[in-house]
């Protein structure tokens, strides 16, 4: 499994709660690694252990942690490039939602070997969407919920997201877009300076 996934969890825990908490989480998970590298490959079996360790040390459910990680990816300044790469998906939050089925392809284009679940999006009535994730790391849907919540804020849209659990092997997320210009759009330009990209 791609090191970026583990590295993200590590960065989330160390940045928000401190390196000692991360150390404790790894001890609790009984994982013989002290720090993950983004550009190395790790055994996928480590993921549930690491998440369990984090859940026990942070005293919250691992689904909450996954959601928070999704939000952290978009909002934290050290990952500004992820927010930008997401903004490439569309010029409005609704366009971004409708482009989510391209997200695994875009991700593979960005980092080969980083495989996301298949994502299907359906607008079953105006402003009301169903997002389905299948064939990927289990519970990725929770990361997606956190990530989309933060992206809605970024576009200045007001949206209500809910993870409805699994149905026929797919995770189902419901998204209601209440207001597309609820707050100010944080803005996005295709042009960028090097500093932004590297951050």
């Amino acid at each position: 499994m791609h090191g970026l996934i583990f590295r993200t969890i590590e960065a989330f825990v160390s940045d928000n709660f401190g390196p000692d908490v991360w150390e404790k989480a790894l001890l609790d998970a009984d994982v013989q690694i002290t720090s993950f590298e983004a550009m190395l490959d790790y055994d996928a079996a480590l993921l549930p252990s690491v998440l369990k360790g984090c859940a026990s040390v942070l005293d919250r459910s691992h689904t909450t942690i996954l959601e928070d990680i999704g939000t952290y990816l978009v909002t934290d300044q050290s990952h500004a490039s992820i927010r930008r790469l997401m903004r490439f998906g569309g010029q409005s939050f609704v366009e971004l939602l409708l482009s989510l089925d391209e997200l695994p392809g875009r991700t593979r284009l960005a980092v080969s070997g980083l495989d996301l679940p298949d994502i299907k999006v359906r607008e079953h009535q105006p402003h009301s969407f169903t997002v389905q994730c299948s064939n990927g790391p289990a519970e990725f849907g929770h990361v997606l919920v956190g990530l989309l919540r933060a992206m809605a804020d970024d576009y200045g849209a007001l949206a209500v997201l809910e993870h409805l659990g699994s149905r026929d092997g797919s995770e189902v997320i419901e998204v209601m877009v209440v207001d597309t210009s609820f707050a100010e759009d944080r803005g996005f330009s295709l042009a960028t300076d090097e500093a932004q990209v590297v951050a």
């Binding site: 983004a38 550009m39 190395l40 790469l85 490439f88 960005a110 980092v111 295709l190 042009a191 960028t192």
Partner: protein, 336 residues
Amino acid sequence: MISQQDLLKQLRPLHVLVRSTGHITSSGRGFAKMSADDLVGHRVLEAFEVLQPSGVANMSGLRALCGQTVRLRLRNSPDITLRGTVIDDEAEGLILDLSFGIAIVDAVQKFDLTAQDFAPSDLAVELLFLQEAKSSAMAASFSLNARLDGALLAAESEAMTDGLTGLHNRRAFDNAMARLGQSQTGYAILHMDLDLFKHVNDTLGHAVGDVVLKRVASIMRRNTRKDDLLVRSGGDEFIILCPGLLDTTRLTGLSNNLITQISEPFQVEDDDVAISASIGIGTSSLIANASPDEISEIADIALYAAKRSGRGRHVFWTASLGTSLSDLDMPHVAVR
């Protein structure tokens, strides 16, 4: 039926329609951000310069390029090269259809282009996405390499150091010797053995022995110069490599100081410890054109001589000691 002009305006943001006189009659919306004034009404070759193929000076020259790939630039944005094709509109005029090609990243920076400036079917935005994603991934890769490099340096430096005393080890000495062999600098090599150290280790234990070795290391540090290389080459064997130091008086002073300070009795917990040291000295001026290894060898011979002549003293190598340890089986050795 949509008119040809409207069709092009919707599909091709960077196109130009040119009539038979060479004047531009219509241009795509993409030029709005690139050119301060409207292209319409200007002569096409006054607005654009054809770079490849070269030598295009008039309408018929441009017409001759139909079907070929051309590279050109706006005369008022000379640093952005456009790529495209020339099409005969079969009504005496020409159509130029252009794109940024590989200049897309620079063009987006320079003209602050947005997704709307490109045709939806254009892969330009994907190209920009890929460029940013690649930069981020490269940054992550670079940072991993930098960390690995740091770890390697730390490991190498550890491998050059004696863990107990913090002095350099045999490997560091060999490296320094190899460097010395390349340079013209004169140098002295001092080989030093502790006298009676084995006795301390055997009677007072290794813990006390370790304290003794650390104390010797600190005496060596106190008495030597910054450029001298201090080496623990074996259990109770030390080497000092002094680049640029050939003066016998100063080397004698250094040796006497080391031996005197090492020989001062001291206590470790409640045990009295008394040791001493013997030193053999070789300098690069003693044998012409000798390699550092040979100088180290004669310093070792001098050390052997110092020990045989009664310990607690230093000996400079002289020709009478020979150049091989096996020559040393003579009963008496000159001592300075």
